[in-house]
């Protein structure tokens, strides 16, 4: 038997009470698109599943005071259908549309994807580039905020413990003149794990034709999604030009240290992929909302 009890709760409070009662033997389940398989394969064990996926207070996408806030049980389909995200946070809308298949997106949630901590989870790569935070409820009644940069410990391992904690909300700030994009390479468009995912978020300074802020998150090139700090620094150092994007991509290439993988290709190939895809995704991000490049390698935003 994979689990002994399956409880669907009506309130957040009820969920936290059940976790407390079972002291580590119960865990939360969201869509279950990953968890059900992991339980079947005995990669995880649990006696009681507590289903929080239908709680309306965990399903929303809203903009408040320059921040986007997302309820943890929002499904990938809901994210992918959000006009707000397509208008302001393309990288996340693209990431949500890339997850699995329509059937998986209709059930799988953004919160589930985070807690499950797969090394290249599409929405996680996007949220990491967005410098997002999560709000977590503990079963002692306390609440904590954790930045994405501290959330992941290793493959399949996040700081959130679903036997005692509930991921409530994901939030991030919108940047001035924000541009973003997701670069994704996989064997086919649907139902294929990414060979490489790159999330890029930029804030452009149109007057000076340079960047205020640049964030690049790449996965999987390490056990957890990785921010390319050197490449980000390079991007802020000078005015925008094709040559600047090339040096930033080179910096990402230098920082990436993927292992040889039967599934994803060897180290040399994957490093080269980081270089090429960083460059291309930077270009696509800059081109959203009006940025253009010309033949001579100058870029105007």
């Amino acid at each position: 038997m994979y689990w002994e009890k399956y409880l669907k709760v009506k309130t957040l409070h009820e969920a936290m009470e059940i976790l407390k009662l079972y002291q580590g033997k119960a865990r939360l389940i969201a869509g279950g698109t990953d968890l059900v398989l992991q339980l079947r394969e005995k990669k995880k064990r649990v006696s009681v599943l507590v289903d929080i996926s239908d709680l309306p207070e965990l399903q929303y996408i809203k903009e408040e005071h320059g921040q986007i806030k997302i309820g943890a049980m929002t499904t990938h389909s809901q994210l992918a259908a959000s006009p707000l995200l397509w208008e302001k946070v393309i990288v996340l809308a693209q990431a949500a549309s890339s997850v699995g298949s329509p059937q998986i997106r209709n059930v799988g949630t953004v919160g589930g994807n985070i807690v499950n901590a797969q090394p290249a989870a599409d929405t996680v790569v996007a949220l990491m580039a967005l410098d997002a935070k999560v709000v977590v409820f503990n079963n002692d009644g306390g609440e904590e905020k954790i930045p994405f940069s501290e959330l992941f410990l290793g493959v399949g391992e996040s700081k959130i413990d679903p036997t005692s904690q509930l991921l409530k909300e994901i939030s991030f700030s919108l940047l001035p003149e924000m541009r973003s994009s997701l670069g994704r390479l996989a064997r086919r468009k649907a139902l294929a794990l990414p060979i490489l995912n790159i999330g890029i978020v930029l804030s452009v300074n149109k007057k000076e034709n340079r960047l205020h802020e640049a964030r690049i998150c790449v996965a999987p090139v390490a056990p957890v999604p990785m921010r390319m700090k050197e490449a980000e620094k390079t991007l802020l150092s000078r005015k925008l030009s094709d040559e600047l994007l090339i040096s930033a991509s080179k910096a990402a290439f230098d920082a990436a240290d993927p292992r040889n993988s039967k599934l994803r290709g060897n180290t040399a190939y994957r490093k080269e992929l980081v270089r090429v895809m960083t460059y291309r995704t930077l270009k696509t991000a800059l081109a959203t909302r009006g940025g253009v490049g010309d033949e001579a390698g100058s870029i105007t935003v």
């Binding site: 994979y2 399956y6 389940i29 698109t33 059937q103 209709n106 059930v107």
Partner: protein
């Protein structure tokens, strides 16, 4: 093992059934309710042969815990049309030769009805994206995509 009572709406009828707590929706449909239209292909959420509609949305029932479906509205291929009165999507699949072995067909047809409920005249690209979670090993997809377009036209004429 203690069985749990699961209640939901299935093909427009209220259903109550006793299920194992760790059964999937596909298990319950096929084993307990004798609805064998939904197929088990991969059993892992990769092929869409087990697709059913939950509250109007295509879902892989092979990885969907049965008790998660409590209170929801489930549609399977058995609820769509009858032999003498086919649903327009079923008819289009037959007319266009979009069925070979038929294993993927219930899932394809349900996914198509969900698409056409939202979008009456989908583009070819939209059809492909909508069907991207349904694998077919026989047809090569051309005839399936064609059947979806024909179904859309026929429904719009109704």
């Amino acid at each position: 093992m203690k069985l749990e009572v699961l209640q939901f709406e299935l093909n427009a009828r209220k259903v109550s059934v006793r299920v194992k707590p760790d059964a999937t929706l596909l298990d319950v449909l096929r084993e307990d309710l004798d609805l064998t239209g939904a197929k088990r292909g991969c059993g892992e959420g990769e092929c869409g042969a087990c697709t059913v509609l939950i509250d109007g949305m295509p879902v892989d029932s092979c990885i969907y815990p049965a008790l998660k479906a409590a209170g929801k509205n489930i549609e399977t291929i058995e609820g769509l049309g009858t032999e003498d009165n086919l649903h327009p999507v079923q008819k289009a699949f037959l007319d266009e030769g979009a069925v070979q072995c038929g294993f993927c067909t219930p899932g394809m047809i349900l996914t198509t009805t969900a698409l056409l409920a939202k979008n009456q005249s989908p583009s070819e690209e939209e059809v492909k994206v909508a069907l991207s979670g349904n694998l077919c090993r026989c047809t090569g997809y051309t005839k399936i995509i064609n059947a979806v377009k024909v179904a859309a036209r026929n429904i719009n004429k109704l």
